[in-house]
Symmetry: C2
Amino acid sequence: MSNNKKIIPRLLSGFRDKLPQEAMLKLSVLHKLSNVFDNFGFVPIETPHLEYADILSKQGGEDIQKELYKFIDNGGREVALRFDQTIPLARFISLHKDKLDLPFKRYVIGNVFRGEKAQRGRYREFTQCDFDFIGSNSIACDAEIIQVIYKALIMLGINEFTIWINNRKILNGICKHFNIKDEVLLLRTIDKIDKIGLKTVNDELCKFINKDSVSALLDIVSIKQDNSSDEFFNKIAYLKEWNIELKYGINELENLYKILSNLNIDKSSYRINFSVARGLNYYTGVVYETMLNNMKELGSICSGGRYDNLTKSFLDENISGVGASIGIDRLLSVLETNPKKTSARILIAPLSEDLFSYSYKIAELLRASDIAIEVYPDAIKLKKQLSYANKKKHEFVAIIGDEEAKSNTITLRNMTTSIQMKEVSIIKAIELLKN
Amino acid sequence: MSNNKKIIPRLLSGFRDKLPQEAMLKLSVLHKLSNVFDNFGFVPIETPHLEYADILSKQGGEDIQKELYKFIDNGGREVALRFDQTIPLARFISLHKDKLDLPFKRYVIGNVFRGEKAQRGRYREFTQCDFDFIGSNSIACDAEIIQVIYKALIMLGINEFTIWINNRKILNGICKHFNIKDEVLLLRTIDKIDKIGLKTVNDELCKFINKDSVSALLDIVSIKQDNSSDEFFNKIAYLKEWNIELKYGINELENLYKILSNLNIDKSSYRINFSVARGLNYYTGVVYETMLNNMKELGSICSGGRYDNLTKSFLDENISGVGASIGIDRLLSVLETNPKKTSARILIAPLSEDLFSYSYKIAELLRASDIAIEVYPDAIKLKKQLSYANKKKHEFVAIIGDEEAKSNTITLRNMTTSIQMKEVSIIKAIELLKN
């Protein structure tokens, strides 16, 4: 009897299924992104979802420790599910570097796991798409990553966005100038300007920075490019005199702009913003985040930057890189799903079981012309088959009765107009559907 | 100091990375498979990697219990990584059935986890691609799944394979005829004929079946179709008289063949084999497995069948289905990887940093014609850039010096022939590369 007890079908809190419409959208997005990466010579790699826990823990920081899905496997090993794609990349590069010829450009698309407090729009399993340029210090790599972000979003039909760019060296220079010791705390605090507002950030800063400096400091980190890049770089040129970090940082941005400005990229889509810090402590150079202009509350849909010590947990050798990460689930939430619940354009509706053979033959002929076809598998009443096509939103139904089979034709019903055409030959049908 | 201690970069036993060549092959295979599924009106879905452990355990059987990656999460829940795509499908259908209009055709591509003994060719994380036709008892669905297997393999360039077909009803009928009580044990034993040989299977059967029956039984389960289907069905027609299970089972196969034989499918690629049992106990109707003719030792690369009680653990209502699963990793092992280590056809080689801008402009123009381009990010010596292109197997290198920038051309080097063409305009280059 106990075997017959039903289990309640349910999902873990913070996890979810993707129903067909969302899954179809996701596949098409991932396919478009892969095409962009391929076009720039990035190659895919894959790493396991499960790693030794110490590998993931080392660089993770305290927040991550709490959120890590960690457990002892049946062999007594302490293992954990990956929480990002960067640490597995560092492990991957360290393990395989002799087989990879640097510079190495990789992308990866996969799920990561974080036991965060479940809340609206936050999931414990989500898809990250990362692309990185490993093994070169050239600013050309930084420019290329930004170019890829731009092309990727345009390919997805997203036009109204801004890539906000900064340089950790500039923030280092500002800290040095204002004699701030706890740089990480400063970065985390100013990173919140957009979220909690300038006033609150001001109050928080006053707790650990000399009050007089705070307003001067905030004036600097509030600097945003709101005019042409030439004018902007002229306006901030005086900061180069403050110290060498600021000088190098600004020079790098100027070199970055030299490459970007010659490309076919809308100049209003990327701008400098000194308050962009990116919380993660491994960044060392140019950093960026990408906001939708009309939906800033969504947060960044693509962020990244340069890190000079990717492999430091594993190797004596320092291998540097620059890369970005697209939050696929966040991105999907702003794209529209197709109203169709099927990939097929036509439903073939056989009116009796004897007509299955003919129906499948017709399906095969249409598919050979790249028209996606579904055959209804039961010879139920036509009305029911039409109602099914209505729900799933097939564009046409091909009705197959004895007459059609005899004359080697189909009756084609347009599901939008409800107009039926009789005795349509397969050649005619292909012609109609290709237009 | 302890912070500087290095961690050995390593993988868990039974887990592995996919390097670019293998990952590129995998992506192209998955893309081709998705196209086939789309063409037949199958839609993708996605379920989490992690589920409540009781959901996965219930239908799993004893073997699976031992292999399950099960643990207590930070919220005290007993959770587990999925070990197949069928139980998550049953949970998915049970949970969302009001939103899905049956019949429902889905595919899913994702990783599953089994803590099996690590051994050559067996991994603890591997990719499964399942496609199922849910909510109809029609034999047309069984025919369509077999058609999809055929098309999928042909699309992947695999031609020499056999889909071995059987029907659980036939095996039930055979058991009934020979008065065998432990049907599961019988199925498991005859399933091993190809692995351990007829003689060993004979000895094993003698342990629990009357010796006299064993050879008669083996004669029956050794029946394979080795001639036309008409001749074959004639030859076995006498079995229909034995009992109703055999009659129904054979009739179903005849109806299946009626649909398949009219399609553009090579008739030697699917054959009936009474020894195909498929170990899993949820199958109730037609079952099949697919062997490469020249590599039988690989085992089945695509197996499946009909199950009449998919949702029985979750619902009172019985929803039936038929589906198959492709072992992607096994499949990849027989496909050839491309020798190229890059997705790019051309490497652009700038000879000085001043030429980055021009180089990226050229790259952008070529990419606009769908030619995949990589720009070398450092202006190192040409010899080194050429050696890099040699290793990664770019087809061409576009050399960018001051002269090229001045004349708005490139020097194009064919990496196979080492022939260099000077002063190639972009239009000319696109023409050359498109042919």
